[in-house]
Every structure is written in C-alpha cells, then in structure tokens.
Symmetry: C2
Subunit: 248 residues, 2 copies
C-alpha cells in the first residue's frame, strides 16, 4: 500500500459540446479524479462511475466553486474543475487563481490548467476561417465590467481592424446591450461587414448563419451563441466565410 | 463493392505538439485519409501506414499546398491538410479558401475545418490564466502585412487594455521588429506589465518564463515562442500568472 495521495486540482476544458472535441489529456484526468466540480450542464457531461463524486452547482458562483475545489484538494482529493470550451477563456481558471490569491492557506496546492477547444475556434471552423487574421475576443457580459469598457473596446477593436469574437453576447436580463453593440459596429465598420452567429456549435442543435451588419438583428444571438465579426477583408467563398491571411 | 468515393478535404489542427492534445475528431479523420499535406514538421507527426500518401512541403508555400489539396480531392482523394495548433489561427484554413476563391473549377469541393488547441491557449494554460479577460491575437510577422499595421494594432490593443498573444514574434530575417514591439509596449503599458514567453509548449523542450516589460529582452523570443502580454490587472499568484475576470 502506498501512502495517502497528495491532492491536486486540474482545471479542464470540455470543448464546445461534442465528445470528439474533448482532448485525450482531459479524458485521462477525468479517469483519475475523485471529485468533479462545475456548472450543472458541464458536470452532466462527465460519466458517473464508482468512487467519483460529482458536484454540480448553479451559474454565477464561480468563486464558491473555486474555494470548494481548493478545500477538497487540501484533504487529498483529486479534483477536476470542468469548464466548457477552454478553461482560460472566460471560464473557471481565473476564478480558481482569484480564490488562491485570497486564501493563502492553500498556496501550496498543485494546480494544472488543461486547455480545450474554445467556442470561438469551433464556431470559426464550422463557418470557414473568419478568424484567419489578427483578431480579438470580448466577453459582452457586463456582470464583471462596466458596459462603457465594452463600448470602448469595441470601437478600438474596429479601428484596429481586428476580426472579433463575442462571448455571452445577449441574455434575457440585458437584451438592450447587444443592440447597442450592433449599432457601434455599424458606425465603425459599415453595413456590409460580415457577421456570423454560431449557436450550439458541435451539438445536434448547431446553427451557423452569416449575414451583413445591415441585415443583423439582436434576436439572432442568445447566451448559447458565439458571434464572429469579420475584418474589412472578410468575404464569402461558396458556403464558407473566411478572412485572408494578408492585410493592407 | 461500393462506387468511387467522393473526395474531400479536412483542414485539421494537430494542437501545439503533444499527442494528448490532438482531438479524437482529428485522429479519426487521419485514419480515413488517403493523403496528408502540410509543412514538413507537421506531416512528420502523422503515423505512416499502408495506403496513406504523405506530402510534406517546405514553409511559405501555403497556396501551392492548398491548390495541391484541391486537385487531389477532385480526383477522389480524401485529403487532410495538417496545421499545428488550430488551422483557423494563422494557419492553413485561410490559404485553402483563398485557393478555392481563385480556382472556381474546384467550387464544389467538400471542405471541413477541424479545430485544434491553438498555441496561445496551450501557453496560457501552462502559465496559469493570463488570457482570462478580453484579449487579442496578433501575428507579428510582416510577411503578409506592413509592419506599420502591426504597430497600429499594438497601440490600439494596449489602449483597449486587451491582454495580448503574439504568434511568430521573431525570426532571424527580422530580429529588429520584436525589439520595436517591446518598445511600443513599454511606452503604452509601462515597465511593470507582465509578459510571458512560452517556448515549445507541451513538448519535452517546453519553457515558460514570465518577466516584466522592463526585464524583457528580444532574445527571449524566437519562432517557436508564443508571447503573452497581460492587461493592467494581470498579476502573479505563487508560480502562476493570471488575469482576473473583472476589469474596471
């Protein structure tokens, strides 16, 4: 018999939804886990087995969840904190490090971050290659930052001619902000700029739709949608949309 | 016996280097392929087998490679075009769509893009979570755009307080430009801003180093390095570097 295992935390990305987009690294760490922590629909993607404790929790309790992981690891548990997509992109990795910073008693915890296929790259692949040149990723939710910061970033990103990816574009509690976002983009980029709405990417409910900013309406997005905006050179070829590698 | 298979192209991302970061989707498509096309070191990662033709080619011939794929698929071949990382991020997907646009005789080709773990997200995971808030990705090579465009983007990205990821930061043929890049960042972000150099991520030669812009020197980067720059709130906690989810 070996001694008590030292606990650890792995913060793992499950990708956008389809199991074939989960990396072998993440599948292996889930086999070693004693505990899985995460938002309800993500924990539901992990297969139950003898000896594995599942801890699904509701949305917007990221710091509680992170602290729970640190406490469990301190008792010797092997904890996997699951996120959809990539855990470092608008997901649980930063929350765990915030909790670590505020609780020095857990400073020695062994923490690894295991990357995953983030939603914007799965969406871009499904549409063609709209992020094929310099681009930015913006979380449109104002839960954690003022809306004025979002507006400022949108304008500078447009002036830099970045292609753009938006996470959390629209929710029931703030339907007006995505309307504002579209207005800013029309001012800065014109009506002909291409915009792609990618919903539930890699799942049976996947729906990809590319229109111009002139045709785009706020209702085309919801919280399961990733929105991609092209740069000035982004165009269609057949059923694909792509951004050329070169730019002026 | 079935009739002749219709050819297709899958543009697949092999991830940053380690086989455990190749998605099952990509592993499966490689098993179905008759032909694999790509840059020499990426094709070298594909296991040889009976009936599989490997077509490794040198760097900077992306359009020739894309056209080769289209021609092979037109003859019924099942072609996988391999990129490292994600094929939609500074890689082969845009090149294939450019070739498609310029050769209408191949307009009916069945093309899929299969996402992969892109270098910046593997690098961020290895360092902690430096891309945990809004961020941008910039290719610092001026092979395909004027250096003035890069400078303009760097300044606007800094003023938007994006965290940043740089691909192709430095090569032997243009060592001075990364020096310029660091100078611009010091002007815009100050000397205390954190910068992470991530070399050969996920391989046995992986080396991750985080310093301040005041400490950074151009020699810390080469063509196998991805560079990550924090935003104003990025900080260290223990051996990790992370960007909090919230911003002012």
């Amino acid at each position: 018999m070996t001694g008590q295992t030292k606990g650890w935390i792995a913060i793992a990305g499950l990708g956008p939804g389809h199991d074939d987009l989960v990396t072998p690294e993440v599948s292996q760490v889930l086999m070693q886990a004693t505990d899985v922590i995460g938002y309800i629909p993500y924990v539901a993607r992990v297969a139950a087995r003898e000896g594995l404790n599942l801890h699904p929790t509701d949305n917007r309790v990221e710091i509680d969840r992170a602290l729970h992981a640190l406490k469990l690891a301190a008792t010797g548990a092997r904890v996997v904190v699951v996120s959809s997509g990539d855990p470092g992109v608008f997901a649980m990795a930063s929350a765990v490090f915030e909790a670590l910073e505020n609780h020095s008693e857990f400073a020695e915890t062994d923490i690894r971050v295991l990357p995953g296929i983030t939603a914007m790259l799965a969406a871009a692949a499904a549409a063609g290659a709209p992020l094929g040149h310099d681009f930015c990723a913006i979380n449109l939710s104002d839960n954690l930052k003022p809306w004025a910061t979002v507006e400022h970033r949108l304008r500078l990103a447009a002036r830099a001619d970045f292609a753009m990816a938006f996470y959390n574009p629209r929710s029931k509690s703030r339907p007006h902000q995505f309307t504002e976002c579209l207005n800013i983009l029309r001012q800065e980029c014109g009506l002909d700029r291409l915009i792609t709405f990618a919903r539930a990417v890699s799942t049976p409910k996947q729906r990809i739709s590319t229109v111009t900013l002139g045709e785009a309406t706020p209702e085309m997005a919801d919280m399961r949608t990733v929105v991609l905006v092209g740069n000035a050179a982004t165009r269609r070829v057949g059923r694909y949309v792509y951004t050329p590698r070169s730019a002026s």
